[in-house]
Symmetry: C2
Subunit: 264 residues, 2 copies
């Protein structure tokens, strides 16, 4: 099977011009030799713009509550400013980038998140289906897809959707057609034993070592949803998941850096 790398970059990379530029150099070089999809997060620009506009941002469990005004802002910032700037910068690096939201070509169909008791997440989307026909068709035409974390419900409603989840669902959906590696890249060197020490990267995690690390509370709580996502991807046919520093993309993929999540 043909190889495909799905790379997610976090908001902290998007916010840092130098880190983003180094990452885009590496990603453009990767996309010259393998099919690649980039999923980007949001960063602080949406929050800053909301503050300027006097919109109070509510967060529950690290997730933004997306009211109608916030949805406007994240659509502008994620699908507009960030997505198109990444596309333009990749085009300048010779990568045939094409930016899409989940609404474009019905790339990612979602539904408005069901209320969880008293918590209404507003216009947050939970994914129903990734359009593999569209994405593999574009890959066949040598396009490198850049996905913004905005989806739709095919009833006219845009929805704010977690970028980690988009990366995971895209990787899972495409692993029937491709040999997929999923990379979660962010500002840390990998999954760390000591969250404050970048030299304590755990090189490899499999399901049994993960259980042990969790039971010994050696994994920083913030990493657990990412790792749960990683194992869900592995269990659905994704070959491996790599977690590490965005600027080291090349080393993450060749295995010399970061944390690799594999099956036993």
């Amino acid at each position: 099977m043909k190889k495909l790398v799905v790379v997610k970059i976090g908001g902290n990379i998007v916010d840092d011009e130098h880190k983003l530029s180094a990452f885009l150099d590496a990603f453009a070089s990767l996309s010259a030799s393998a099919a690649a999809i980039l999923v980007h997060g949001g960063g602080k620009m949406a929050t800053r713009l909301a503050e300027k506009s006097g919109i109070v941002q509510q967060m529950i469990d690290g997730r933004r509550i997306t009211d109608a005004e916030t949805l406007k802002i994240v659509t502008m910032v994620y699908a507009g400013y960030i997505n198109k700037n990444i596309v333009a910068q990749l085009q300048a690096r010779g990568c045939n980038a094409m930016g899409l939201s989940g609404a474009d070509g019905n790339a990612i169909l979602a539904h408005k998140r069901i209320k969880n008791g008293a918590v209404d997440y507003g216009f947050a989307g939970d994914i129903d289906e990734v359009n593999t026909v569209l994405l593999s068709g574009l890959i066949d035409q040598k396009a490198t897809i850049i996905l913004a974390p905005i989806t739709h419900d095919k009833k006219g409603q845009l929805l704010n959707t977690n970028a980690d989840t988009i990366a995971q669902e895209t990787a899972k959906a495409l692993c029937r057609t491709y040999d997929v590696t999923l990379v979660y890249s962010f500002e840390k060197s990998g999954v760390l034993l000591d969250a404050n020490d970048d030299h304590t990267v755990i090189k490899e995690i499999n399901p049994s070592s993960y259980q042990q690390l969790k039971s010994e509370q050696k994994i920083f709580a913030g990493m657990i949803p990412k790792l749960d996502n990683a194992f869900a991807a592995i269990n659905s046919g994704v070959k491996k998941v790599i977690i590490g520093k965005a600027e080291s993309l090349e080393h993450l993929i060749n295995g010399s850096s970061g944390t690799t999540i594999i099956n036993d």
Copy 2:
């Protein structure tokens, strides 16, 4: 040759929820029977957002001077908010809409406008090339392309670009492959003899009647750039150009409404 309709909607339509909705009904229905591309303008949202953010907007000859902060805003509003909302609403109407800026897949290559004497238009783009291979490939895959008025220079710079010009250049570029009709739709019923009376639509304009109308100063000055663009398109192989009311799209195309611009 296969038929293609390139439709441009102005900012006043984008700003009016009811008019936009009626237009999108008609456009979705058109796109079910013919290949269609929609180019949308900006509207007042960018101006309002700039005002809120304390950015002073400078206009020269009806064109916005695009400084770096204004470019950020138009990228967010045009390629983000407006483009993705139109796409989502068309998807809800069964039209397989896909939104692109000129940077996506290098759809529209432009250069930063050369300074005209003392006037620096800032990050305004003049079009060099429309990527017909990309656009006709997407049309063949039954995608209906929705173009935002943002282009790029393939050196990493996004550029604010006039939507009328994008529609015209796209129509011209694709008339080698398709039998192209170009529709400029806006809030008026067509080219009017009396700008305040919607019943004075000029049904047909050809090059000689245009010269006469201009010499008799019967054409509202604001229409002249649009008509010059229309004749430039006709002279480059576009079959006809129709100017009229966005909500009457069906009637514009069947010739029962609006102004049709043709060669003698």
